[in-house]
Structures are given as C-alpha cells and as structure tokens.
Symmetry: C2
Subunit: 336 residues, 2 copies
Amino acid sequence: MKEYNVAIVGATGIVGKEIIAILERRDFPVRDLRLLAAEQSVGMELPYKGEELVVQQLTETSFEGIDISLFSSGATVSQKFAPYAVKAGAVVIDTTSAFRMEPNVPLIVPEVNPHTLASHKGMIASPSCMTIQLVVVLRPIHTAARIKRIVVSTYQAVSEVGQEAIDELDRQVRSIFNHRDVVCQVYPHQIAFNCLPQIDTVLDNGYTQAEMDIVNETRKILGDENMKITATAVWVPVFYGHSASVNLETEKKITPEEVQFLLDEVPGVKVVDDPEKNVYPLAVEAVGEDETLVGRIREDGSLENGINLWIVTDNLRKGAALNAVQIAEVLIWGGE
Amino acid sequence: MKEYNVAIVGATGIVGKEIIAILERRDFPVRDLRLLAAEQSVGMELPYKGEELVVQQLTETSFEGIDISLFSSGATVSQKFAPYAVKAGAVVIDTTSAFRMEPNVPLIVPEVNPHTLASHKGMIASPSCMTIQLVVVLRPIHTAARIKRIVVSTYQAVSEVGQEAIDELDRQVRSIFNHRDVVCQVYPHQIAFNCLPQIDTVLDNGYTQAEMDIVNETRKILGDENMKITATAVWVPVFYGHSASVNLETEKKITPEEVQFLLDEVPGVKVVDDPEKNVYPLAVEAVGEDETLVGRIREDGSLENGINLWIVTDNLRKGAALNAVQIAEVLIWGGE
C-alpha cells in the first residue's frame, strides 16, 4: 500500500493531538509524520504508534517532501504558512477559517460533498465544527424533501476555542466553589454557570462571525447559495460536545418517521431518539464518538412542512480532527 | 392604607422564600403573614421584616381569615389545597402549573394582560417562568407588528426545579473535579457540563410538557389562540437565570431599531444590546434583577419580516415570585 508523508501544523494543540490519535486509530498509511508547531513547543515529544515524535519548528521550509499537510493552528498561521506547503507540493487540509469561503477552495465534509474535492488546487478546507454536524444531518433531508429555511440555535462547548478556554471554565468553577473572584481572560464574561450569546467577532449586520459561518458554509457545502438560514450561536459551560436546536421548513412534506428512517441509513449519523425513555443526544455521550447524534425528531406544527431536531457531536473529533483525516482518506482512496 | 392577610404555601421552598423577600422589599401591605408548608418544615423560622415567623402546617383549614394566598409548592399541592383557600374566601395566586390552562382561571403577567384579571373567580395563575420572560418582550412587538410565528430554543437554569436540582449540579461538578462518579438523582442524566434536551414529561406529539407550556400559555396570555409557536426546551448547567433564543416572523415589517425603541419604553423590560462592546443579556447578570433583559436584536434575513432576539431573566424572581406578588399588587391596587 502506498504510504504518505504527513505534516501536522499545530501538533501540540488540542485539535493537533486529536489528529495524531485519529491517524493512529484509523491506521492511516503514514510513512513519515512530521509534527510542526511554534517555537515555544519545539522539542516537545508526542506519542504516535509507540514512538515519541519530536515537535519541530514550523518554518517556510517545513514542507519539503510532504504529501499531505493538516493545519490546525488558527487562521493566521494557515494564512501565512499554507501557501508554502502548497508550493512545496503538499496538499493542504486546513481546519481553520482561513480559506473556507475562498471560491477556489473546496469545503468538504466527506459524507456530504466528496465529489467537490477533485476540483482542489492544493488547498482543501474543513468547515467549522458547528457546520459539520449540521450538514451531515441536513444533506439527506435536503435531498429527500428540499429544505427551504433553517433556524438554528447552538449550545457550543468551550473546547472549540482551545485548551485555554477549557482551563478558564475549570478555573472559574473552582473559584466560585472556593468563594474567590472569577477572572475572565479568554471570554469577555464569566462562562462558568452562564451562557454567552457571542461567538467570535460581531459583524456590521449584528450577527457574529460564527453565526454567519453557519449560514455561508452550509450554503456552500449543500451547494445552494440561496438557502434561507438564520443562526444564534451561544457558548454554554460544557467542556466537550456541541449541541444544536434546529428547526427546518421543507418544500415537500416529510414526517419524523421518514427523517428517522433516512438518517438511520446515513454514514456518520446515529439516531438517538426515544425521549419517553430519556433517550436523546447528549454532549457527554457524543464525546469520543465518531458519529453525529440526532434526536428529538418531531413535527413542527407551526408550519405546513416543519421538523425540529436536536443534533450533537464531539466538536474536536468529527467537528475538526476526524473530518480532516477523513478528507485525507478521500484524497488518497477516493470518495465512497 | 388597607392591609391584607397573606398566606404563602410552600414558604420554605426556593420560590416561597423569594416571595417573602419580595413582599418585604416592595413593602406589600401585609397585616398578617402566614407561612405554610408540609409537616417536615413545621416549626422552621423564616425572617420577615426583622421578625422570625414560624412555619405552620398546611391543612385544609389553614386559610381562615386569609385575603391572598400565594401557592408555590408544586402542582399536586395546589390541586389539593387551593380549592380550600378559595372556599375560605382567599384569592389564590398560583405559581404552579395546576390551573394555568383552565379556561376560568386568568393567567396573568401584570405588564402584559392585567385587564383579564378582573374575570377571576378566586383563582389566578402565574405562568411558567419561560413564558413570562417571552411574553413581556413579545407583547409590544405583537401589538406593533403582529407576530405570525415564533421559534424558541431555551437555555434553562436548574433552579427552576428547586433546591434539590441546585444541589445536584453542585454535587456533580464537585464529583467530576474530585474524580468521583457522577450520581443522578434529580435529572435522568448528568447535568454538570452537559445540556439536557428534555424538560418535564414527554407527550404523545413528541414535545415535552415544558415546550407545550410555552406554546399554550403564550397563546392564552397574548389572546391569540392561533399564534404559530414551536419550542425546544433545554436544561443547561446554569444555577440561576433562564436564557432564550427567539426567532420571530411578523406580519408588518419592524426593524431592530424599532424593536429596541418599543422595548425601551416597556416596564419590566431592559434592552441590553451593544454586542460590539460585548454587551448582551447574561444569566449571571439577570440574577437579582426585576427586569427581563433583551438583546442581540437583529434582522433575520431569511424571512421577509424576521427578527432574532436573546431574552434572559431571573427565573425565580420575575419568572415566579415577583410575578406572583405583582399579580397581588394589581389585585389590590388595580392595573396600570
């Protein structure tokens, strides 16, 4: 079997470490694994298949001989270094927001739009975690009943921001329980035992970047530039696992039973829906799972053709690292 | 000034204690305050205006001489004992779900529908906390632009359930931080660092009781039996303060600026909306406030006439105790 030289940019970050674990777990055909990070992490050792790999400094010349380069160090790093990787002949799979909306960069969720991957010019983007968990569920419904409008409210876990946000929630909870003042460094307000209705910067239209990312990325991935979508994106005091309350209006009538039947067949999606027995998707149960969980599937009687859903996924795994590795798999083996 | 004999049923509960504090703070004209509770709380002392009042046992004969009786002990207790209070000549103001949808029982939010109070036959209901915070904001918008449809997703604090749920969230967080197993007694699943998309029992239509309460109570209070509403109600790991993401479709166009202008004038509502400066309603800031906070007011471009809102209130105060006391104030002094 052909093997590939793989670089991970941001290897010491929370998504980078998850990528290493997933490459190992899925037995991705790696010949050489090059771990790259900023200067302060150089020399760190990270485990891969029983070995300790030494983290090297990310520079403009880091990508010689690399076939596939996975970027997870934030948009600024991708913007600066991804072009050097492409120039060196590597295919870039970028998990940051840097290139997602570039017309020439395919934005890929392998279960949803693998066919658009072939058009890549060295650069492929992985969507934001919230978009990924939406589109894997919405794609089959859109195909079956044509979605006209989506209203989504999110319940997003702090780990999306990175280790520093996990530490902040942890520290704030301990402060409150020890009667000390709460200190806010990562978020502008207390996140412990609170909800923050602002994710990313606020744009001129009053929406946040995260909210418009959901709108624009969903349209791009589903290939429907006019799909009507509105979003409210909210941080909740959860460490891992993004949840979303999703309201759909469809052109064709589709019953909850038909939605469940459709989704039961979809790779990467698991229907978890027996609320009378307290069975529905939960953030704490999605963690460590590859699948996106969907439940609370019910008819919305306020519309002619309406459906409500509750969708949960591990934001670091399918929401970032796993999706990136799956893109690499489609790249080398082709789509399903 | 005329003074009234007031009874509080469930005086030792989380809402009961809040009612006592609010009667005192608002200087409600109380002649005699009778604190009533189940047998296990009899003899407890609770402070009121510098005195310690002794809790008495709730019985069928507890209401002799009482003018106003505030019930906050759960629906079963209200169902059993409220009729005795009415029979004894007291007006019952019930904060539980027991009588809210009874056609002969006015369901009152004093800022919204004080005029329907006069029709009472001894029994008045206070809505569920989530409904209260919605209708105080929706009423003026409905009057100005006629709301056609509401999509709401809630972020509800555990204190709605009572002290035992506060203790459960507290205990689970400590268990997790001390590497002990999480024990679930109040909720069917872990609430610490998790979201639970089930509030109250699940009905035949797939919705929970809490979701249908929002639908039915909002229709009743706004006096529009056909208003289209769909809700998803979710517990979040927050102690105090309910948040809600609300999407509105209106018949007439109304801009975010007009909504803000309208709401700025409404008693009981405070516009908190400057997201570029990180200013928006927060559960931790709503706690201890009488006002319902509203922000993130923005146009929903996915509709001809659409508005998104983020609405937060102290679920124990305006969501329960304050609203009940305000109903009593309208009763004795008349509506504004």
